[in-house]
Symmetry: C2
Subunit: 353 residues, 2 copies
């Protein structure tokens, strides 16, 4: 299937799944409707990257479209609910105001509280609702995966990947937060976070899940790691650059939002390693300032460029992307999968969408 076709089928599978849950929720209470609309709004956005990698892991290992392919799409789409959960909880933890160009879920419920003039604490209500909706998405992800229709030993092996991936991404998120609060991340410690929080979660494990569902041989799984892990690192480094320099219309977040949140990314670590005392002081002083305005963002952007931090990060992206491309060239997979994965590699690390 083409990328746009995969996206369309994943969208349809997600909508069908949520539509199966909808009547059960509304039968409990009409008061649950805002949970469903918040989820509908969130699921409208997103590039469906993880399902695409899951699909191509399946195809790379010999899986085909058709009846099994529809089941595979459901399993792949379940990754979007996992991602929705991660985004919702992440935004609570980071106190982010926006996501995918819309208010974040906790802000949405805070606004509902205000609009209804309820007497309690609006911020606590927003955070609580977001925690619960994230929990619901996490539960629904496993429900959607487990009921995908692909059974037996293949699902058992894919489940082991799915379970490992969930553990890895949650541990990676914790380490990311830890580096953020300690404020002493080096490029090396930041890369370790990237590996678990992002590279495995976004690319390597989705590929492995699809491959396991197709009954992949070990050499195929290993080749997908050779491609997916460096590509996943390059993907996250690109995301870090976009978090500072990206166009809000494309990132769905305000300009320089990662700076305001004080994220201790590889880009920041590379910058600090290269900064003069004055540059370092200026960067550390403003990084994580929730009130950072546009001139403040511009000042920090200049430091990241002037130190050579940005150039060093771009060099790393090229290096990891090159590594992924080399691994892909010799991978024991079909030519069709090789071409599609080469295109996905470019799309996942592009400077703009």
């Amino acid at each position: 299937m083409s990328t746009s076709r995969i996206r369309k089928e994943v969208d349809e599978a997600l909508l069908a799944f949520v539509d199966r849950q909808r009547p059960a929720l509304l039968a409990i209470s009409d008061d649950l409707a805002p949970l469903l609309s918040a989820l509908d709004a969130l699921l409208t956005g997103g590039k469906r990257l993880r399902p695409a990698f899951c699909y191509w892991g399946w195809r790379a290992a010999g899986g085909e479209d058709g009846a099994d392919g529809a089941d595979l799409v459901q399993a792949a789409a379940s990754l979007e609910l996992l991602q929705a959960s991660a985004l919702i909880h992440d935004d609570v933890m980071d106190s982010s105001d926006t996501r995918r160009g819309q208010p974040s879920v906790h802000r949405r419920f805070e606004a509902l509280h205000g609009a209804q003039s309820w007497p309690g604490d609006a911020e606590a209500f927003g955070a609580g609702a977001a925690i619960l909706l994230g929990d619901l998405c996490l539960s629904w992800s496993s429900e959607m995966f487990e009921t995908c229709g692909l059974g037996g030993d293949r699902r058992r092996r894919a489940r082991a990947v799915y379970d490992l991936m969930r553990t890895e991404v949650m541990c990676g998120q914790y380490l990311d937060m830890l580096e953020g609060t300690r404020g002493e991340a080096t490029a090396a410690t930041a890369l370790r976070v990237v590996e678990f929080k992002s590279a495995k979660y976004t690319i390597e494990r989705p590929l492995h899940m699809g491959a396991a569902l197709a009954g992949a041989r070990p050499d195929v799984t290993a080749a997908l790691t050779g491609y997916g892990l460096p590509l996943g690192i390059a993907f996250q480094l690109r995301d870090d650059v976009l978090g500072v320099f990206g166009d809000p219309a494309e990132t769905g977040k305000p300009a320089g939002d990662d700076l305001r949140e004080g994220k201790r990314t590889v880009l920041i670590a590379l910058t600090l390693e290269r900064a003069s005392a004055a540059q370092s002081t200026a960067l550390r002083r403003r990084l994580g300032d929730p009130a950072l305005d546009r001139p403040g963002v511009d000042e920090l952007r200049s430091i990241i460029e002037d130190t050579g931090g940005l150039a060093a990060c771009e060099t790393m992206i090229e290096r990891y992307l090159g590594e992924a491309e080399r691994a892909l060239r010799t991978a024991p997979i079909t030519e069709e999968a090789r071409r599609a994965l080469a295109e996905l590699a470019v799309a996942a690390t592009a400077r703009s969408t």
Copy 2:
């Protein structure tokens, strides 16, 4: 198996599961050790009520001890990880300081932050770590359930119960929070919350899960609802009474903690329905005051007693418990299961443990 024997086997299954995860986490980073110790501490406590009901649902439907019994214990124990997740997230949402007689998970990580003198925001770090550990427990619960060893159609049917239960408890929690923030719960709306957040989650669904894993006939499942649903309501009403009047040594929470958190329980609704204008004003003024001290707790306790709210709640507990006991008498289950479920009904609604 006896209640103490079930408890022991569930404890062992939980420990074995966490011990299988431990090396994977520590291989990612030693920095993850505090997540494991927080979970170890939390899992030390708890009455293992849900696994006990799951076990007796299995036995009631003809399941036996032995090899399949060990697999059933793993499935039953997975409910404790779901409960751990719910408690951890609940304590974040309620800003609770204690759980099971120890600091709540978010306070524990807040303290770690302080002890390490990290520069970032300790409270945000604590909440973030708790959100992530709750997510990990939720993931691990489904992993533990899915890998229990009982396969085929029985697990498929039990999974449908498990999935429904997760949706119900999360929706129930949202409605609970909503009633709390709106501050206008009647006994009827509070009872609806109790049904989903507590009665189904704690008793009816665990019974159904065990029964489904044993391949229960529909009449057995229906009889377990007849017993489990009213018992679950009686259980939560007892918990509400203990949340106001209970001994901290037994509840693991400070005296009157539910009053400090402003929980809109059936007990509070029954009290407000019976209160004079002065009593109502006094109760509404102090309910949910985080600074409520011991004399304040005593004042509110007096109002709950003097209005007859407490007596009305005790009457409801008796009525629901009686309903459960009548349903149990005619349930098409073994005498052994009937006896065990009768004992569990008493234990789940006892005035003290």
